[in-house]
Amino acid sequence: MKQYLLSVYQPDGAPPRREVLEPIMRDVRALRQEMKTAGVWVFSGGLHPPSTATVLKLQDRDMLTLDGPYTEGKEHIGGFTIVRAADLDAALEWGRKLARATTLPIEVRPFHDDPEN
């Protein structure tokens, strides 16, 4: 079994209004349950906005601590899910479900195979 990262790409700026967000969150929770029931769910979580991020960077011998996200863009990763899947087709199918639930674009990326497993 391979593992895949499903990243949710979210536009910068204020989150949608409550009446918009609530049904979305309900769908996302339902999908998480579906993933758990199917035995493919590994981890998932939503992130605070990029303005809360801190970047650590080794420059020569100094460890720098910097305010803000590493890259600025019009979108940021708002959350992610990790699933176990037999192949890309299976992972893409979960990705499609997540795109429908979140109404946002989903990037599907494979993890390196873990030699420990």
Partner: protein
């Protein structure tokens, strides 16, 4: 003597390449290992065949040899446990080399892997030509007018994604099949059109692209007998290909369908293409490729251009517009309309299309304006067409038409 034999070996090898790679991918579970094993088998053939002769079933010989080489390689490099397991799996795999249906399924799996929607279309095309067609990276690069290093990188990246992202090697499930088959057919048709387009590029390479596209088209039609669109695509390519000899002059200039020497059309290809079109008509599950093939079949029926059944062609375009409407189809329909109702009716349609960036839009407009005697507007339209064409042969053709406006 051995030089002739090597040429012969190369030919036999290229024909068997896709088949051998397809089987070896299933056996090895990895494209790079499969290609390496098949390459080993080729080296072995070059060593043996000149003295021993070509074996009765060259493809079977290549597959068996490649499989043995794959096992040897795994044994040599078997420092890790899983490699032993792999070698064992190879060793005890049932010998199904000569079972055509199994090999056929392998090739179909490989087509669907190469044409997976997670790969960019340019990568799909390159992979299909490399793995199934056995074209070299240099040949594919020449055909698509990109540097060889660029093409090599494109192939490496695509194979890397198949391996690392886990793009599966299997025939898609029934629910996905129509969309996936569409993608595979689009790749085959793109390869064909790339080979058919008149260009200053390497003529031999372009001809081999058409031959390869038709070979892949046959494969899809044979392996997916339940899909009439696969047959439609094959018929379409055969009928267009039948005019290859007459569509350019000896100097390489373009000749329009109406002006072609129809005695030079390939009767065998036409007969085959038309037979398939008739079969499709009987099945009565029309689709875009089948309708386009039917349109070509009507052209092929006319012994001289003036005998073309344009009303029937117009009717087929109407049908195509109803199931797969697009501005390009509308433009082609307008060309037929000009023959049935005259250039004014066609121009009214063409002027309503948003196709400014497409050179043929301006070329069609120019021709309609010419027929309506609106010479200065036609000149401007030819200028626009010439400015948008990326192909030297087409530009030359358009420039000649433009000059012809004021001559007659």
């Amino acid at each position: 003597m051995s030089e002739i034999a090597v040429g012969e070996i190369e030919r036999v090898f290229r024909e068997a390449y896709g088949r051998a790679v397809a089987v070896l991918v299933r056996v090895c579970g990895d494209i790079a290992a499969a290609e390496e094993a098949v390459q080993d088998a080729f080296a072995e053939a070059v060593r043996r065949w000149p003295s021993a002769g070509v074996p009765p079933s060259p493809a079977g010989w290549i597959i068996t040899t490649a499989r043995n080489r794959a096992i040897d390689r795994l044994r040599r490099g078997a420092s890790r446990e899983d490699r032993h397991v792999e070698a064992a799996r190879l060793q005890y795999a049932p010998d199904e080399n000569d079972a055509e249906d199994v090999v056929g399924d392998d090739r179909l799996r490989l087509i669907f892997t190469c044409c997976h929607p997670a790969l960019a279309q340019a990568a799909q095309v390159a992979l299909t030509l490399r793995l199934l067609g056995g074209l070299t990276t240099a040949e594919i690069a020449r055909a698509f007018l990109v540097p060889e290093a660029t093409m090599a990188q494109r192939l490496v990246r695509a194979k890397g994604k198949i391996r690392d992202a886990g793009i599966p090697y299997r025939i898609p499930e029934a629910t996905d099949l129509p969309a996936r088959l569409q993608a595979a057919m689009a790749v085959v048709y793109l390869v064909f059109n790339e080979g058919y387009a008149a260009s200053a590029g390497d003529r031999l390479v372009r001809e081999s692209l058409c031959a390869e596209a038709i070979r892949l088209g046959r494969l899809l039609a044979e392996l997916m007998p339940g899909e009439p669109e696969a047959m439609g695509l094959l018929a379409l390519m055969l009928l267009v290909q039948s005019r290859r000899a007459s569509r350019t002059t000896a100097e390489g200039a373009l000749v329009l369908l109406n002006d072609q020497d129809r005695s030079r059309w390939d009767r065998l290809l036409i007969a085959e293409g038309q037979a398939i079109v008739r079969q499709c008509l009987r099945r009565n599950q029309p689709g875009p490729y089948q309708i386009q093939a039917a349109i070509q079949a009507v052209h092929s029926d006319a012994p001289i251009a003036s005998a073309t059944d344009w009303p029937q062609i117009l009717q087929l375009y109407d049908q195509l517009m109803s199931i797969a409407p697009s501005p390009i189809v509308a433009l082609n329909r307008a060309v037929a309309l000009a023959e049935v109702e005259g250039p004014a009716a066609a121009l009214a349609i063409v002027d309503g299309l948003v196709l400014d960036r497409y050179y043929l839009f301006h070329a069609v407009r120019a021709d309609l304006l010419r027929r309506l005697g609106r010479v200065s507007e036609a000149t401007l339209a030819y200028d626009a067409a010439i400015a948008r064409s990326e192909n030297a042969v087409e530009r030359e053709f358009l420039a000649e038409r433009r000059v012809g406006l004021t001559k007659s």
